[in-house]
């Protein structure tokens, strides 16, 4: 059990940061531009005056491509079913044409003008297919709509950064800007750096021409995430340490009881003349085998428990569903296994050294009547 918890804590300790970092890197954009003091998807704050800012950012040396994103909450309903109470709130992402970095198409194609790509789960929930029509609006309360637009479903897809509860739709940036009334605003932008150029140098260049926004590299996002997740790491470190301590105490107790029960044999073996290091070595080997067998079972249990906990934590609001809390890393498992075996050796050595440190005659006096 201790090994299972230790393995889980090691997986949890760096798992989410690693998983999120890998997710960011797969998208192919090295920089993010967001409103001052925020990260992408952090708030509903937007960057005003995007048209001007885009020109400035696009002119920075080393910038290969700028991909703005407008994210906002919208109501969505199958066209023809308005007013039947079937409107859902969901996240809408306005993207430049050709920017497919935030979703993967499952069926159909990306959205053109007057079209939307719908999250596959949302499409299923709404009962809509490619070619069907949806009504998107800024509000749909008590059967009334605010600004709204009729869109054709261009296809379905999986959204990379969607949380477990989000079932987003993607549509052209210009369409969403018109729908929302935020015609020169975006939520954040992704910047692709030219091949062979240092992202940090480009970040500094963009920051110099865009002082009123936050410009961060993927490493910077990872660091900020790391700060926010320090609580997780601290809890993992404490629980991991406690697990290790419990393992040491358990193995130490088992070995101490075993030594105590076999004091007569140990006394006799020492009296016969077997060297102390050999006797200690045998006892330590026993506790190491105990730790190795128990640790092996514990690692297996840890992996199973991690899978179970992952399924619970996957629904945590605010984090992309693709992010994993427990990342199965051979290094973490090897570390957990190594620590438990080393603990077994230490826990076995202490009672063994104490028992054999006495003169053989003293051991015999204790063992013989």
């Amino acid at each position: 059990m201790s090994t299972a918890m230790l393995a889980d804590m090691l997986m949890l300790g760096g798992g989410i940061q690693r998983s999120f970092g890998e997710l960011l890197e797969t998208r192919g954009y090295e920089l993010r531009v967001s409103p001052k003091g925020t990260l992408p998807f952090d708030t509903e704050a937007t960057i005003p005056g995007w048209g001007t800012l885009r020109d400035s950012v696009g002119g920075v040396a080393g910038v290969d491509r700028v991909a703005p994103v407008l994210a906002m909450s919208v109501s969505v309903e199958v066209e023809g079913e308005e007013g039947r109470g079937g409107a859902r709130r969901t996240l809408a992402l306005g993207l430049d044409a050709g920017n497919r970095s935030l979703y993967e198409v499952v069926e159909g194609d990306g959205p053109g003008a007057g079209e939307a790509l719908v999250d596959a789960r949302l499409a299923e929930a709404l009962g809509v297919r490619t070619g069907g029509r949806l009504r998107l609006g800024t509000a749909a309360e008590f059967g009334t709509w605010g600004r709204s637009a009729s869109v054709r479903v261009s296809g379905t897809g999986n959204f990379v950064f969607a949380t477990a509860r989000d079932m987003p739709v993607a549509l052209p940036l210009a369409d969403l800007q018109v729908l929302s009334g935020l015609e020169d605003e975006v939520s954040f932008a992704m910047i692709r750096v030219s091949a062979g150029v240092d992202p940090e140098a480009v970040r500094a260049g963009v920051a110099a021409v865009a002082e009123r926004v936050e410009v961060v590299t993927l490493a910077g996002i990872s660091d900020k995430l790391d700060e926010r997740l320090s609580y997780f790491r601290q809890v993992a470190a404490i629980l991991g340490s406690v697990s290790l301590l419990v393992a040491v105490l358990l193995i130490g107790t088992i070995t101490a009881v075993s030594v105590s029960e076999r004091l007569g044999v140990i006394a006799a073996v020492r009296a016969i003349g077997v060297a102390r290091r050999r006797v200690v070595g045998e006892l330590v080997a026993e506790s190491v085998v105990l730790a190795a067998v128990g640790g092996g079972a514990g690692i297996g249990l840890g992996v199973v428990v991690a899978g179970y906990l992952e399924s619970i934590l996957a629904g945590l609001p605010g984090l992309p569903a693709a992010v994993r809390f427990f990342v199965l890393q051979p290094g973490s498992l090897a570390t957990a296994y190594g620590l438990v075996i080393a603990s077994g050796a230490v826990a076995g050595a202490v009672p063994a050294m104490r028992a054999t440190g006495r003169e053989a005659t003293e051991l015999l006096r204790r063992a013989e009547p």
């Binding site: 007569g264 044999v265 006394a267 006799a268 073996v269 020492r270 009296a271 016969i272 003349g273 077997v274 060297a275 102390r276 050999r278 003169e359 053989a360 005659t361 015999l364 006096r365 063992a367 013989e368 009547p369």
Partner: protein, 223 residues
């Protein structure tokens, strides 16, 4: 005859809690090669302590113990352990066999500790067990043997490294009369074959069967 071990005016003090207890108060004894010596005396008189000093299991507080001419007080704990391994065979009242090992493996234990090659130690262990009459019990574990058979395995283990001296502390203490007689008979056979034997015992029949007897009373040896 040359002395295998000689103790002269040895004392041994122990701390029991904060109280100093003197277990031996000046014991003197010489064991010659080929002796069969019985050490008798009441419980707590110091018999086991004297045996442990003779075998280098313990060291005297004062006095001198010479084992094959070597002063045991000058040897370190591990040097004495090495000496015991090769020159002293110990037999205990409670046998102290390793329960998870077969009879032959128990006898191999001191041979393995003395780094005797695997094949040779197996042959020697089998031969010693044959010698104590357990040639048909090589693969039996202690739980599958009677008390007398266990003690014979323990004696075989004591003989495995062909020691200069066999020390047996109450070897019949846990055995019934008939079995005790068989163990006594075995010890006499071994002595007749040249093994030097010292036995600490309450058993008058065992003591009577020894070639020589001394008594330990109040920590002192008496003829």
């Amino acid at each position: 005859m040359s002395a295998v071990v000689a103790a002269r005016e040895v004392t041994r003090d122990y701390l029991r809690g904060r109280t100093r207890v003197r277990a031996l108060r000046g014991a003197t004894v010489t064991v010659a090669k080929g002796d069969f010596l019985a050490v008798t005396g009441p419980s707590g008189s110091g018999k086991s302590t004297l045996l442990h000093l003779l075998g280098g299991v313990d060291v005297a507080t004062s006095g001198e113990v010479l084992f094959l001419g070597r002063d045991l007080a000058r040897l370190s704990v591990e040097e004495r352990a090495a000496l015991r391994l090769r020159e002293v065979g110990l037999v205990f009242q409670r046998f102290h066999l390793l329960p998870m090992l077969a009879a032959i493996e128990n006898v191999e234990l001191p041979l393995a500790a003395a780094r005797v090659p695997r094949r040779e130690r197996r042959e020697r262990a089998a031969a010693v067990l044959e010698r104590v009459g357990l040639g048909d019990r090589l693969r039996h574990r202690p739980s599958e043997l009677s008390g007398g058979q266990c003690q014979r395995v323990a004696i075989a283990r004591a003989l495995a490294n062909d020691p200069a001296l066999v020390l047996a502390d109450e070897p019949t203490g846990e055995l019934d009369t008939a079995t005790s007689r068989r163990v006594l008979s075995l010890l006499r056979e071994l002595n007749a074959a040249g093994t030097t034997v010292v036995v600490a015992t309450h058993d008058l029949e065992l003591a009577a069967g020894a070639g020589r007897r001394i008594r330990v009373v109040d920590g002192r040896t008496r003829p």
